[in-house]
Structures are given as C-alpha cells and as structure tokens.
C-alpha cells in the first residue's frame, strides 16, 4: 500500500476549543476514503486543515512523501490536492465552460511571476478547448456549456464544482459533503461520479459526508470522528459492525439501512 495523504498527530485549536485532536491516518493510492461523524465532530475542521484553509496547530501532514504542513490552500491545490465545497461554489455570472477554464487557469498563472513565466516561455495554456470539452463530457455538462453557472440547478452546480476541481488535474480530490442538498436522483449521479473519479481517472478521493448510504456504498475505508478524535477506522462492513461506533455516534438502537 502506497501512502497518499498522511496525517500524523494533527490537531487544530480554536482558542480553548480543540476541534481536531491528535488525528493520524493514511490514505492509500486509488482509495476512496470516507470521513463521518456527528455534527460538530470536527469533520469540516479536519477537512479545512488538510485543504490549507486553517493551518494545523500541531502535527504533520504529507502528501505522497511531500510535506504540506502549514501550506496555504492555493499551494495545497497546486501540489495536486483539489477540493469541492459543501454549498455550491462557482463563478455564477460566468458560463459553465469559463468556470471549467478557470479551474485549470488559476493554478497555471497562480502569481504574477508565474504569469510572466508563461508569457516568456510562450507555452500553450493549460486549459485547451479539448480539455474543457473532455471534462464537461465526463461530468455530463457538455450540453450546458454556454449557460451562466448560476442558472444551473443546485445539483448541477455541485457537479460543476467537481469539474472545476478536475480541471486542476489533481491526484487527490477532497470533497466536503458532496451529497448535501441533493435530491435522491442527484445523489445517485454524484455517487456514480465519485466512483468514476477513481475508476476512470485514477484519482484518490477523501470524502466527508453525512449520507450514510452514499458513504457505505462508495468508500473503501471509513474514518469515524467524534469530538475531534478518531474513534474507528475500517471498511464499511467493519464500521457498521463496530459497537463503539454504533453507540457513540448513531445511538445504541441504530441499524444501518
């Protein structure tokens, strides 16, 4: 097993509150890795610490052997870790195809110096028309390219968010509650899309999610978090059978659907 994302003793404090506490785990290459936990368990904080939105207060994070502890979100993104957002997050006024183009463009001209380098090197832009069309076809938005992103249905905007993240050609995709706010049909589409990220494009996925059915159906392994601490880690079957998880998180009487 090749370790992809590796967390070693990662903590994050907000004032006196310890939102994430001594968290350690490794994701494997080609793995869909789920993170679950009750509200306020620290899932989103954990997600933001990995994505570089908040720096870790303690501990180390590395990605395929490269240290990323303390890196800001834009650098994390350029190292091959893309992310999607819990709520829809697209450039609403711009067309779908422009949104996709920006997905590749911003990593390429991330700073004025990078822009100048691109000018003088005379390189072709990272996001060519065929790339954009290819990703649009992959996410199923090929027939919506000219529409303003803000005019798409909520579910499609979330799908577009996945497409923009894909345009960065990531090795790992962090997904913050991809199914939140989606109707059952859209959830099925999203679950299939997540599986295809790995199966067809070889991207590792770390997904934070509330929807048990979705998480249990697509994940290879699941991390259970409670009060900032890891309480279990294992396959969906193992997690569903774990008495500590059932009691601590789902209530003693809960049965998995």
């Amino acid at each position: 097993m090749t370790a992809g994302l590796t967390l070693a003793g990662v903590s994050r404090n907000f004032g006196g509150l310890r939102a994430v506490s001594d968290m350690s785990f490794e994701t494997a290459r080609g793995e869909i890795f789920g993170v679950i936990g009750p509200n306020g368990a620290g899932k989103t904080t954990l997600f933001n610490v990995i994505a570089g939105v908040h720096p870790a207060s303690d501990g180390r994070i590395s990605f395929y052997g490269k240290e990323i502890t303390g890196s800001r979100s834009d650098r994390v993104s350029r190292l091959g870790i893309a992310r999607t957002f819990q709520a829809t997050n697209v450039f609403k006024e711009e067309s779908v195809s422009e949104n996709l183009r920006r997905g590749a463009l911003f990593g390429e001209i991330h700073s004025p110096l990078a822009f100048l380098r691109r000018c003088f090197a005379g390189r072709a832009p990272a996001a060519t028309r065929p790339d954009i069309d290819e990703i649009a076809a992959f996410i199923g938005l090929a027939d919506q390219m000219g529409k303003p992103a803000g005019s798409l249905a909520y579910g499609l905007q979330k799908i577009l968010g996945v497409g923009m993240a894909l345009m960065q050609r990531p090795r790992l995709m962090l997904m913050d509650e991809p199914a939140a706010g989606l109707n059952p049909t859209e959830k099925t589409v999203m679950a299939a899309l997540i599986a295809r990220l790995r199966d067809e494009r070889g991207i590792d996925v770390l997904v934070v999610e509330h929807d048990m059915k979705l998480i249990m159906s697509i994940c290879d392994r699941i991390l259970v978090v409670r009060q900032g601490c890891r309480i279990a880690l294992g396959t969906p079957e193992a997690i569903q059978a774990d008495q500590a998880v059932i009691e601590a998180y789902l209530g003693a009487d809960y049965e998995f659907a």
């Binding site: 979100s73 350029r78 997050n89 450039f91 991330h110």
Partner: protein
C-alpha cells in the same frame, strides 16, 4: 473596425484643445490627462475590491521624487520621470504584502493613514520637500533632447500618458489577468481553492497601479514647476474616487469620462465659488441614487435595452 472608429474619435477629441491653443484650455486638458491616469490607477485597485487612498500618495511620491532627482542629483528629466514611476512601484511592492492582507473598510483606513503620513512628511521635512511653502524651480522636462516648455507640450505628454495607461489597464482587464482580478473580487475563496495566490496578485496589481500614479506625479511636477503638499491630500483621493463613481467602473472608460467631466468643474464654477462644493455634492448624490453604475454603466444598460 469599431475600435478604429473609436480611436480616431478619441484622437480628434484630444486635438481640440491644441487647435484652440488657449492656454487655459490646455491647462485643463493637461490636468485631465494627469487625473485620468490617477483615476485609472485607482480603477484597477477597485476592480480587486480594494478602495485605496494610497494612489494619490504614490502620485505625490512620484512628483517629489522626479523633482528632487532632477534638482538635487542632476538626473536628466526623462530618467527622473521613469524613476518616479519605479520608486512608487518599489514602495508599493514593499508595503503591499503587509497592506493587502487587509480588506474592506480596514484597508481604506490603512491607506488613508498611509497617505496622511506621506503628506505629513512632505509638509514637515522642510529641508528636503520645502514644506508648506512648496518646492520651487522644478526644471521643465526634456525628452529625447527636446525641451518641453509650452503648455501644449505638457498637454500632449499628459494625453499620451493617459492613453498609454488606459490601453494598459484595458489590456490587463481583457487578458487572463482580468479573469484573475474579477475572480478575486467575486469569490476569493474559490479562486484560492483553484490555486490562485491571491496576495501575490494583489501586490502585483498594487505595484503596477503605483507605477502609473508615480508617472502622473512626475508630469504634474515638471508641468507646474512647483509642488506643495495639499495637491496630494485627502481631497485629491476623493476626486479620484468620484471620477470612478461618476464615470462608472464597469470598463476602464469610466474613470476617463469621470476625469473629463470632473476636472473642469471647479473652473466652470469659478464665478460661483461658494457653490462649488455644493454642486459637487449634488452631482455625487444624483449619481449614487440614480446612476449607481456610472455613465458607462448607464449607457451600456440603455444599449442592451434597445438592442
């Protein structure tokens, strides 16, 4: 084709003061050129959502730098002109990483404080800057061995500077940089998640805008031959902001129109000096209430409605 027609129209319009040749009109024309450059420099900052009082400070730094480099160190004025822009840009590059971490009203206050400090230095370091008595005897500019003495020369210089600034700002906004800038304004968190180093872009833009403001200051210094701190005060910043508001911020043409309309205003109202500020305020209120997108925005809306 349309661009060509516009360019010719602008050129014809720009030659009108030269044809009249009236010194007074040429003076207003020169000031329009200088203030257009400053307003355009502010325009780019406003496009990234940062209302900056520092632009006028950069203009002042460029003005005093150009004057003193020529007077004290004997620099050729063409070199002083270039150094005025570069010094302002260098200062922006140094303070930018600190200033541009801050946004919104705090950034406004910070740049306001900065411009006040710069102005106080001009006022109180009398041995260097001449204080409130002003700095006299700034030599006329010489470009390529040709001395610029007549008012018409400075009018042409200011018009060329304004045109170059306008074209640069327009090119920036139409390039991928423009995409970056609008993304920073619209949704910074998303831009960052896609890899944008937001701070470095803000510093980059701040530096470019300071360069042009510095150049405008240099033209101002050598044109008037005299500098005093009030020229770079709070009120000049307010002028630049109002130019952007009245002209509109949707395109770089907005601040140009704003400057053309606003700079002559004090002159037109000269006979009714007591009503000058009142008229100014009334115009501003009308625009803020009824033409929030400025003249450019209003015209664009009308065009959309008819087509």
């Amino acid at each position: 084709m349309k661009t060509l027609a516009w360019a010719i129209a602008a050129l014809v319009l720009a030659t009108v003061p030269l044809i009249f040749g009236d010194r007074y009109i040429l003076h207003i024309g020169t000031m329009v050129g200088i203030m257009t450059t400053v307003a355009l420099s502010l325009h780019l900052m406003m496009r990234i959502g940062q209302l900056s009082f520092a632009q006028v400070a950069f203009m002042g730094i460029g003005a005093y730098a150009s004057a003193l480099l020529t007077m004290r160190l004997g620099f050729p004025t063409a070199l002083s002109f270039l150094c005025a822009g570069l010094l302002a840009a260098l200062l922006a590059l140094l303070i930018g990483p600190l200033f541009l971490r801050i946004k919104g009203v705090y950034f406004v206050l910070l740049t306001f404080a900065f411009s006040q400090i710069v102005n106080l230095v001009f006022q109180d370091w009398t041995s260097l800057f001449g204080g409130n008595n002003g700095l006299f005897g700034i030599p006329k500019m010489a470009l390529f061995g040709y001395r610029l003495t007549a008012a018409s020369h400075y009018y042409c210089l200011a018009a060329v500077l304004a045109a170059v600034t306008y074209l640069t700002v327009r090119a920036i906004r139409r390039s991928d940089i423009g995409t970056v800038l609008s993304a920073l304004d619209e949704n910074e968190a998303l831009g960052r998640s896609l890899g944008l180093d937001a701070l470095s872009w803000r510093v980059g833009i701040f530096t470019v805008t300071a360069f042009f403001a510095g150049l405008a200051g240099s033209v101002y210094a050598h044109y008037l031959g005299f500098l005093s701190p009030p020229a770079f005060s709070f009120w000049t910043s307010v002028d630049a902001i109002v130019m952007n508001v009245i002209g509109g911020m949707a395109t770089p043409l907005g601040p140009v129109i704003g400057a053309i309309l606003l700079v002559p205003l004090p002159e037109l109202l000269r006979d009714a000096k007591q009503f000058q500020l009142l008229a100014y305020a009334a115009i501003l209120i009308v625009f803020l209430l009824f033409f929030r997108d400025g003249i450019v925005g209003y015209l664009a809306k009308r065009q959309r409605a008819t087509s």
